[in-house]
């Protein structure tokens, strides 16, 4: 196997008390096209900006082509010439024309002659269909056109790797396609790429490797098929299926029932959950957690996780401690009758290895 192009080891980045990236290790092979997905604020952009050293890591190292680019004596400007970056907000130089935006770096940094740089820039512009805009200023172009220019500007340096930081998030929906197509074409040419994106279909179709990040860590790393069709972890599945989750915790006999009801109320209002379903969730919490479970526990710990999918389906997972106990065996027949009215499916399992919360109850609500 070839030496990886980039080896990231135990990379951590903190801003004051916030730590957007924790102890991340990752190898990037030549030719990899990686889609970085995950909820907002989970360190995807930070990881990208660290690879280009626009941020300095708090600890850990990044080896690029055998060179430690986190070393203090590293000539960053030389490394960056080989790693192109495309930003969410395009960042074209506002006072220069399109052609100058593309030509300046190859001339000043890359030592092409003006003529060579011009010819190359025009060829690249033609390939994205913008050769007529060569003498326009960025402010005269649409967002999609600006982002295509930004990609061309990065390509003009012939980089070994391209980093895309949410390249289509700032665009009007009608312009997302044109930019995605350009990125797809660049990918076909075999350039190593890493793309932070929220467009799941795009990630799935372009990448040969998908990394799901959550809370500053790499949660799951695999092929698009693995991540999208057979996710290993619960969080990946929830994210891929775009589930909205509310977790309620009961850890003493003194329960703020009203507070929990309000949380369910707010969760329902925020996600447009029908009133009937909301009432069902509240009864479920009241009858199952408070009624059947809490009354028989001495040191209670109950976690009720409500998942609401885009298809409108609601699943409730209840985990609790104490000895094996299935609510179907409960003596409280009236309560059982009430909840069964809106339960479509229910399964119970007991995990002896889980010392904290061995009991697991999975309930699907009637749609």
């Amino acid at each position: 196997m070839n030496e990886p192009m980039i080896q990231i080891r135990n990379l951590t980045k903190s801003f004051g008390s916030v730590t957007p990236l924790r102890n991340v290790s990752l190898d990037i092979q030549r030719g990899d096209i990686i889609a970085l997905i995950g909820p907002s604020g989970t360190g995807k952009s930070t990881l990208l900006r660290l690879i280009n050293r626009l941020e300095t890591p708090t600890s850990g190292s990044i080896i690029f082509n055998g060179e430690d680019i986190t070393a203090p004596d590293c000539r960053l400007e030389q490394v960056r010439q080989k790693i192109g970056m495309i930003f969410q907000s395009f960042n074209l130089f506002a006072h220069l024309t399109v052609i100058e935006n593309i030509m300046t770096a190859p001339i000043s940094v890359g030592h092409l002659s003006r003529q060579e740089a011009y010819d190359q820039a025009m060829k690249l512009l033609k390939s994205v269909g913008l050769q007529k805009k060569a003498l326009n200023y960025p402010s005269e172009l649409s967002g999609g056109q600006q982002q295509r220019i930004a990609i061309v500007r990065a390509l003009a340096m012939n980089p070994e790797m391209l980093l895309f930081d949410e390249p289509t998030s700032a665009l009007d929906p009608t312009m997302v396609g044109e930019v995605e197509n350009v990125i797809r074409r660049v990918a076909e040419e075999g350039t190593t790429m890493m793309i932070v994106t929220h467009e799941m279909d795009f990630a799935r179709s372009i990448a040969n490797r998908v990394i799901f990040m959550e809370k500053g860590c790499i949660h799951e790393d695999g092929t698009p098929d693995q991540i999208f069709n057979h996710p290993q972890s619960e969080r990946t599945r929830q994210f891929i299926q775009r589930l909205k989750v509310l977790t309620l915790t009961v850890d003493s006999q003194e329960v703020d029932t009203l507070g929990c009801f309000t949380l369910i109320e707010e969760f329902a209002a925020k996600n447009g959950i029908p009133r009937r379903t909301k009432n069902a969730l509240q009864s479920l919490f009241d009858e199952v957690c408070m009624g059947m479970l809490l009354s028989r526990m001495e040191n209670p710990l109950i976690k009720m996780a409500i998942e609401y999918g885009v298809d409108g389906h609601v699943t409730v997972n209840i985990d609790y401690n104490g000895p094996r106990f299935d609510i179907s065996d409960s003596a409280d027949d009236i309560a059982l009758a009430i909840v069964k009215a809106f339960i479509a499916d229910m399964s119970y399992s007991y995990d002896e290895n889980n010392t904290e919360l061995p009991n697991h109850l999975k309930i699907s609500l009637v749609d």
Binding site: L54, F90, N91, A94, V109, Q115
Partner: protein
């Protein structure tokens, strides 16, 4: 341009009203009397008229102006000066009785050199008193006509060095401006003194207070501007023996207004201000100094501000803290204080031309504005462009110069333009440090003509013209600097399409 002409006209009108004299009868025991701070005039005014209200004014021309406008009822002044004012056609009169005598002396620095000079001067005064030269000089300068009041400068050998003579050049006939040169009774004595003692001398015209301050720190060797001998002035400076007894009288306004009609007054004023003794040359000289200070301070200040900002970008914590603190400090100090600080403290004991000090002080003040403009201007450019340049492989500094600075320049140019004009206008204070700029020249002319109106108008108009020219010129520069105004041929220079 229209706006400027209108403003000038407005100024003319208001000044004409203000300049109209007004009169009332006077009882000096309860009158408002003009005095200088810490002077013989103040001393005797308080002694002789304890119930009068002293009004503090600076310079004889201000005294006369205030008297003519009825803002004071009178002032005590040496009879020789008053006689001379009357000869010049100033509408004043004086009460016949001699009130007091304030001897007129030279001032010297309290130092070895000062003591030696003072001793030499006293010896020399004794000599000319004995041989009648002093009497002859007094007659010529005090009683003679203006045409007689000249002297041929002695051939100075200067084997014993050069001495600096300071004067306010406002006390006719003691020391004053004539034909764009300082002359007078006191100056001729110094000329003779230098010839007799092997010195050369140069004359520095400055305000009276600044002159005394300069004598006390040794920037000026001899102070000569009808300095009155007072017991409590001794100590800060040394005084020579008197050159003149200095009999004083009470000056009052003349009852008859000699000039009739607004336009006649203006016409006479213009003649006095510009034509007599070729005084327009003083205006031109002053304008030259103002323009000189402005241009050099502008170049130096812009460069300094830019370099400091580049240094600031290196982001060295301690250095940046120092820069931030200095900028805040400099912003909170009045221009005049800073100028005097440089003149008296920083260059206090170095022999530097006041113009150079003014250029340095104004350059520093401008550099503060330039620094602030660059800093806030650079923050206003989206930091993404900087990141994009870095990501392409530019170093931080090259990225700044190539991509950020050109945009900052177009953003901050309008405020820069205004800062430059403001600076040019605030150079009007350099008279305080013995620089004869446009404003100071206007003052000196006013001291000769006792007409505030025409010199002020002329000086104002010149300042207006200068600011207008600056704004116009810089407007053209802006369109040159704006990258958007380039033609496609310039953009694609050296490229075959």
């Amino acid at each position: 341009m229209k706006r400027y002409i209108l403003t000038v006209l407005l100024l003319l009108g208001s000044l004409a009203i203000a300049a109209t004299p007004e009169k009332e009868s006077v009882d000096f025991n309860h009158a408002r009397l003009g005095v200088w701070t810490d002077s013989g005039v103040e001393y005797y005014t308080r002694l002789l008229y304890p119930n009068a209200k002293p009004i503090y004014l600076d310079g004889i021309s201000n005294m006369v102006q205030n008297l003519k406008q009825g803002k004071i009822d009178g002032f005590i002044m040496a009879i020789n000066i008053v006689e001379n004012l009357k000869k010049e056609g100033v509408d004043i009169d004086y009460l016949p009785d001699t009130i007091c005598a304030v001897p007129c002396v030279y001032a010297f620095t309290v130092s070895e050199r000062g003591k030696k000079l003072c001793q030499q001067m006293n010896d020399y005064l004794d000599t000319i008193k004995a041989d009648g030269t002093l009497k002859r000089l007094q007659q010529k300068w005090m009683e003679g006509d203006e045409s007689d009041r000249t002297f041929t400068k002695a051939q100075l050998t200067g084997e014993n060095g050069t001495i600096v003579v300071g004067t306010s050049a406002e006390t006719v006939p003691y020391s004053y401006m004539k034909h764009n040169e300082v002359t007078g009774f006191e100056i001729e004595i110094i000329d003779l003194f230098c010839a007799a003692n092997g010195y050369k001398y140069e004359v520095k015209a400055t305000s009276f207070d600044a002159m005394l301050a300069d004598v006390s720190i040794g920037k000026i060797d001899i102070g000569a501007s009808y300095i009155e001998w007072l017991p409590d002035r001794e100590g800060n400076v040394l005084f020579s023996a008197p050159t003149d007894e200095g009999y004083c009288v009470m000056v009052v306004s003349d009852d008859e207004i000699s000039e009739t009609g607004f336009f006649n007054r203006i016409k006479r004023g213009i003649t006095k201000t510009l034509i007599v003794e070729n005084r327009w040359k003083m205006i031109v000289d002053g304008m030259y100094v103002t323009v000189l200070i402005t241009i050099f301070a502008a170049l130096l200040g812009t460069l300094l501000g830019f370099l400091v900002y580049l240094f600031y970008r290196e982001n060295i914590k301690f250095v940046n803290k120092c820069i931030d603190m200095s900028v805040t400090a400099l912003q909170g100090i009045p221009d005049l204080i800073l100028l005097m600080f440089f003149y008296y403290v920083v260059f206090g004991h170095v022999d530097v031309n006041g113009t150079v000090v003014a250029i340095i002080a104004f350059a520093i003040m401008l550099s503060v504005s330039v620094f602030i403009m660059l800093k806030s201007g650079s923050e206003s450019i989206h930091k993404g462009q900087m990141e994009a340049a870095l990501a392409l492989g530019f170093t931080e500094r090259r990225a700044y110069l190539k991509f950020i600075l050109p945009q900052v320049v177009t953003v901050f140019f309008p405020s820069y333009k205004k800062a430059l004009v403001d600076m040019m206008l605030s150079t009007a204070i350099v008279g305080y440090v013995a620089v004869q700029d446009l404003t100071r020249m206007g003052d000196l002319i006013r001291a000769r003509t006792f007409d505030a109106f025409v010199p002020l108008i002329i000086v104002s108009i010149i300042y207006f013209m200068l600011s207008w020219l600056m704004l116009k010129g810089m407007g053209g520069l802006l369109s040159q600097l704006n990258p958007r105004n380039r033609k496609p041929e310039t953009i694609l220079k050296g490229v075959k399409r």
